[in-house]
């Protein structure tokens, strides 16, 4: 059996042109995939969490769900976290669980593009779909992002190489600029690489904005970049027919955080007085944009939502997971499709280990190892269907290609079992 137009469930590119061959219920070949995507499809069965576990011992699914319901219903300040590597149906159930418990729901954007959301809520955004960019962009800027390591087909499929309707020459018809603190693989293939001093992106963005506006700055250099080069770059941006700034965690995780994005939006707004310019965050996990979207349409807010008063309240910095954990405020956590024990700073991860944790996960991870209850689930986009949102906000349908291991269900089904149990426990 051969499946065409398969959507890859790894990064925010959601490449939808994969061809996957399945024989005897096993994936035997993947075409058009990048190295990471191929690794995901070919290794989806490797190192699996084989059984539901309670206190490190094998348990039945029913008893694991019962234990999960018991400890979550007893918690006074429960947190639901993760959600960026699962499909939208599961995210919807997770929101309902948080509301039922009067708990907090947060997703991994709080440690990736949360600052982007903070800035865009303040100042708005000028955006375009990846299809428009592919067909129109003649100036492509990657700022604090390195697609050659994190979004491997982005340049070949969407932004750099493809021949578009108004860019018929493909790569020759586009200029690529990379701004970063080190010369990455992306920097090496760019037409221009600009090395910015670490922690100084804000200054460079603001200086560019001033230059685009025609202001003279009495400085010889800004953020380690000679003033002549800053002016040249500003002119190049103004002269573009359709420009795009793809920005990554180099802006959101460094000094300034959301203020860096605010400055990038300001620069793009200024450029729109002269030409067409847009910006797009390089979303990492394949459905982190979906986690924001579903949480927004259900609660009004994209992440960091607290239901403890019976209605949703939003406050990043207070209801975000790293803050909640480092303050020791949470007394139970439900983790879905994420590994905070690996991804959070050590203090927050250590506090997670001190409380009862329920984790839904495919493989054994540091988080499943420190969980009181760990329940294996199907891999969305491989063993379960569903919807995911691409980095530009376009929803795409994930396919089910093979059956999950026996007795293993999709995230949405397991979350529904927990939800029903929690509602029952409230009566």
């Amino acid at each position: 059996m051969r499946y065409e137009d398969v959507v890859c469930p790894f990064c925010g590119c959601l490449c939808d042109d994969l061809e996957v061959s399945v024989e005897d219920g096993h994936i035997t070949e993947v075409k058009n995939a990048c190295g990471i995507s191929r690794s995901k499809f070919m290794n989806h069965g490797a190192n699996r969490l084989e059984h539901p576990m309670v206190d490190g011992k094998k348990a039945s699914l029913d008893s694991a769900v019962k234990e999960a319901v018991d400890l979550l219903s007893k918690a006074e300040r429960p947190l639901v976290y993760g959600l960026s590597s699962t499909e939208c149906g599961a995210i919807g159930k997770a929101v309902e669980i948080a509301e039922t418990m009067g708990g907090i729901i947060d997703n991994t954007s709080s440690v990736c593009h949360g600052p982007t959301i903070l800035a865009l809520q303040q100042v708005g955004e000028s955006k375009a779909s990846l299809g428009e960019i592919r067909n129109r962009a003649d100036l492509v800027i990657f700022w604090g992002s390195n697609p050659t390591e994190a979004h491997l087909r982005h340049i070949t499929r969407y932004s750099g190489m493809p021949k578009g309707m108004y860019v018929p020459e493909g790569r020759k018809g586009r200029k690529i600029i990379v701004v970063d603190v080190r010369e990455t693989g992306s920097g090496k293939l760019a037409d221009r690489f600009i090395k910015v001093r670490p922690g100084s992106d804000f200054e460079l963005l603001q200086a560019l904005r001033a230059c685009v506006r025609g202001r003279e700055l009495p400085a010889e250099e800004v953020a380690g970049v000679p003033m002549a080069e800053v002016k040249e770059l500003a002119d190049q941006m103004k002269e573009a027919r359709f420009g795009i700034v793809f920005f990554g965690l180099g802006l959101t995780q460094s000094e300034g955080r959301h203020m860096n994005i605010d400055a990038a939006v300001g620069l793009v707004a200024e450029l729109n007085r002269h030409t067409k310019f847009v910006l797009t965050p390089m979303r990492g996990h394949y459905n982190v944009a979906g986690a924001n979207t579903v949480t927004t349409w259900q609660t009004g807010y994209p992440y960091a939502v607290d239901f403890s008063r019976g209605y949703p309240r939003y406050n990043p910095g207070e209801f975000t997971s790293v803050d909640l954990l480092s303050r020791g405020e949470v007394d139970a956590t439900l983790v879905v499709a994420s590994d905070p024990a690996s991804n959070f700073p050590v203090d927050a991860a250590t506090n997670l280990a001190k409380m009862p944790v329920v984790t839904l996960e495919q493989k054994t991870t540091p988080t499943t190892m420190m969980s009181k209850v760990a329940i294996p689930v199907a891999t969305a986009g491989v063993e379960a269907e569903g919807t995911a949102y691409r980095m530009d906000g376009v929803p795409l349908r994930l396919k089910k290609l093979v059956e999950p291991p026996k007795g293993v269900h999709p995230d949405e089904e397991v979350l529904d079992m927990i939800l029903k149990g929690l509602k029952e426990a409230k009566r």
């Binding site: 790894f10 990064c11 190295g35 990471i36 690794s39 995901k40 290794n43 989806h44 490797a46 190192n47 709080s110 440690v111 949360g114 600052p115 903070l118 050659t148 390591e149 994190a150 491997l152 603190v181 080190r182 010369e183 990455t184 693989g185 920097g187 090496k188 670490p198 922690g199 965690l249 180099g250 995780q253 460094s254 000094e255 955080r257 959301h258 992440y303 960091a304 990043p316 910095g317 975000t320 997971s321 790293v322 803050d323 954990l325 590994d339 024990a341 690996s342 991804n343 959070f344 700073p345 050590v346 927050a348 991860a349 250590t350 280990a353 054994t364 991870t365 540091p366 190892m369 420190m370």
Partner: protein, 133 residues
């Protein structure tokens, strides 16, 4: 022991992505996230040779890992792929934004005086207060 002050940057790598899809306990994942890159001149000033371990310290923690190439870095910079090893070094403070500062923090790097790279099991056990399951 000779040491240098660096600006520490963490980030994604393709090897890390491929490794994590094999599993967090796979050899490929461990290798991909336990190597810190340094500018060649900085590495040379520390007397690093292939196979030598480095100790990376911040005001928040320290970890012993492998030395892994130049990473396109200028002098005074170090790159550490995201993962449980790098996270031993970062503060949980988010300055009210929800986001810890994973990029651009001050760190000290020296050639490790003995020691070994902790296993992922050892890191999990230390976070669990020394308890092994």
């Amino acid at each position: 022991m000779n040491s240098i002050e660096v600006t520490l940057i963490s980030g994604r790598t393709a090897r890390q992505g491929m490794g994590l899809e094999e599993g967090k306990f796979s050899e490929r994942y461990t290798q991909s996230v336990t190597a810190v890159s340094l500018n060649p001149e900085d590495a040379s000033s520390l007397g690093l040779v292939k196979g030598r371990l480095v100790k990376v310290s911040t005001e928040h923690g320290c970890v012993t890992v492998n030395w892994g190439g130049d990473g396109g870095l200028g002098r005074g910079m170090a790159f550490f792929p995201y993962g449980p090893w790098a996270n031993q070094l970062y503060s949980s403070s988010t300055d009210g934004t929800g986001m810890p500062q994973f990029k651009g923090i001050r760190a000290t790097v020296s050639a490790a005086d003995g020691g070994k790279v902790p296993t992922i099991q050892e890191i999990v056990d230390s976070m669990r207060g020394g308890k092994t399951r």
